[in-house]
Symmetry: C2
Subunit: 228 residues, 2 copies
């Protein structure tokens, strides 16, 4: 029996590739997804399909509605910005930022990890082709790991947790190339912040723009169905 | 208008006293409670009564069921230990420990804080008369605060969050004395890990033992109704 790993799985390119990388490293996979009140309810369906394709041991989906907390275009009526220029994407943390989202997700990942005695928690954060969110940066991840090992019974008893971020320094194109090598079926994944009611991607939000650019630069056909 | 504070409120002695202390310090109060799958469903009712007594601005109750995660006697069928000796209570982290619970609660507190622009997050942790949980210790709180200021937009923009722990070095008796001075009605609070179906406290779990001892040492009559 291999070592267990928790993998946070949103159903997008990055987390799906992270799941495949963890499998390639020989881990038993415990995937974790959240219904957190996001506009894109297709995300969790995509996560289920990917969890099935990659053959995880267990896929836990938790309901934690963040809408009452507010503060983000992803969880409230606030509109999702479209067609932001690269310059803007580099400089301004957009309203699609969800306060403390990765902190919350990693905290649940930590709880499940401790409960099932998994000591590796994978998260597909990336600080190259990303939306500028502070909780995707290496310094945040390092601080979370330190905190986690003071927060938990296992941590204080000398069985530390590791937060694994295999994509942290990869471009979106490199991520797509690596995932393709590992057999990830990207047609199952969902990246759009604001899909149409039929599930088609908008093609204009930051997440769609980065996704399109990634496939182009990787020289791999984009299987996504866009609204326009 | 005063400064806003988030106060994590479980409905026990410590969080209720913390709420009164934050009010005494002049904060506008935003209390936050969780239905996390705890056996003691009276907790949240107690939190509502206290939030009303202390007159908070808003009381947000979130549903985040931790039962599927497992690992604790508070969220699963595992029995709650009774009549543990002081020696045992000092040495062994009990099965009532909920993996990463305070990390999860503080993460939601951080999210709400950022959303409403509150920069003080109060939590009633105490490392004197407590159950030995690692996530009640000052070193954990400090590490969480550091992480929080790397995780958030406000943190990286130079508007840091503070995790406030006014009870950290107080005995249970001192906490009860301070809360009594501040007018906390402890008859509304609930501490028991495993109350009877009618809501009466068991009187034998760690939490009841510490509560009883606290009232005795404070020389204040204990208003709690125990089963036996």
């Amino acid at each position: 029996m291999g070592k267990k790993a928790i993998v946070l799985l949103s159903g997008g390119i990055d987390s799906s590739t992270t799941l495949a990388i963890a499998r390639d490293q020989g881990f038993e996979l415990y995937a974790m997804s959240f219904r957190y009140g996001q506009k894109n309810s297709y995300e969790v369906e995509a996560a289920q399909k990917i969890a099935e394709q990659i053959e995880v041991n267990e896929h836990l989906i938790l309901d934690i509605n963040l809408s009452p907390i507010g503060g983000s275009a992803l969880t409230t009526d606030m509109p999702v910005p479209k067609n932001r220029s690269e310059k803007k994407r580099e400089k301004i943390i957009p309203v699609t930022y969800v306060p403390a989202r990765n902190t919350i997700f990693l905290s649940f990942g930590l709880a499940w990890a401790e409960s099932i005695e998994a000591f590796d928690i994978f998260i597909g954060v990336n600080s190259i082709d990303y939306s500028g969110y502070p909780d995707c940066r290496p310094e945040f991840i390092k601080a979370f790991e330190q905190m986690a090992n003071l927060a938990t019974k296992a941590g204080v008893e000398g069985r530390p947790f590791r937060i694994q971020t295999p994509l942290i320094n990869m471009t979106k194109a490199q991520i797509i190339q690596r995932g393709t090598e590992l057999g990830v079926d990207y047609s199952l994944t969902q990246s759009c912040y604001d899909p149409a009611p039929d599930g088609k991607a908008c093609g204009k939000c930051d997440s769609c723009i980065l996704r399109k650019k990634g496939f182009e630069e990787a020289g791999i056909p984009d299987p996504t169905v866009y609204s326009n």
